[in-house]
Amino acid sequence: MVKVEFLGPIGKSPVEVEASSLADLAEILKKDPEVARWLESSAVAVNDKVVESLDVKLHSGDRVSLLPPVCGG
């Protein structure tokens, strides 16, 4: 199982899903309307490292974070 957390304003509790790659996870999250609208504008971190390819493999225990648009300061 992979843990998915939704940061900042997405305001959704973490979920656990079965996914062996980010591409798998993308298909799962697109089906959740509460999450789907954030996908276009959110970056993705796996185990606290920002990733830029859907080919990234996921393993049980991995933590994926969705990072919506930021504004510090």
């Binding site: 900042g8 996908l39 959110s42 969705l66």
Partner: protein, 148 residues
């Protein structure tokens, strides 16, 4: 590590502390940036969420980049509510050379705005409203919106 403060930053103490700790280490230039909450749009405060593990990782990347130039980077940011006219962000760069200090301050603050994992909310009538219009998608955004 980024110094994360619950609520407003004590700017005077922070700048004094940074200066005290470093002025005798032979850096010729100190530059600082402080961000203070402006009274506008009827807000009583701004409020911030921070994702600390990623913020520290992002900050460490900058710290290492500056170390290669012989410079030192410090940063503090608020979490939670920060009333108008109090400060939510401060950073300092200490460098032997003023050009490095000035250029890196500009580059660091701009990257901070674009890529530090911090989310901003207006606080109006006690309610927290995501500052969507002032927020920027981080580098690499949209990955999970792509098709297979």
């Amino acid at each position: 590590m980024v110094l994360v403060c619950e609520g407003p930053i004590d700017v005077e103490a922070l700048l004094a502390g940074w200066y005290c700790a470093e002025h005798n280490r032979n850096y010729g230039a100190m530059v600082t940036f402080v961000g203070t909450v402006r009274e506008e749009g009827g807000i009583e405060a701004l409020s911030f969420d921070i994702y600390r593990p990623l913020l520290d990782r992002w900050f460490l990347g900058w710290k290492e980049r500056l170390e290669k130039e012989g410079a030192l980077l410090e940063m503090a940011h608020s979490e939670g509510d920060v009333p108008v006219h109090t400060s939510s962000f401060a950073c300092a760069i200490f460098s032997p050379k003023r050009r490095v200090a000035l250029q890196m301050l500009d580059a660091f603050v701009e990257d901070f705005k674009a890529n530090a994992p911090i989310w901003k909310y207006d606080v109006i009538d006690g309610k927290r409203i995501y500052a969507a219009d002032r927020s920027t998608p981080m580098a690499g955004s949209g990955l999970l919106a792509k098709g297979r």
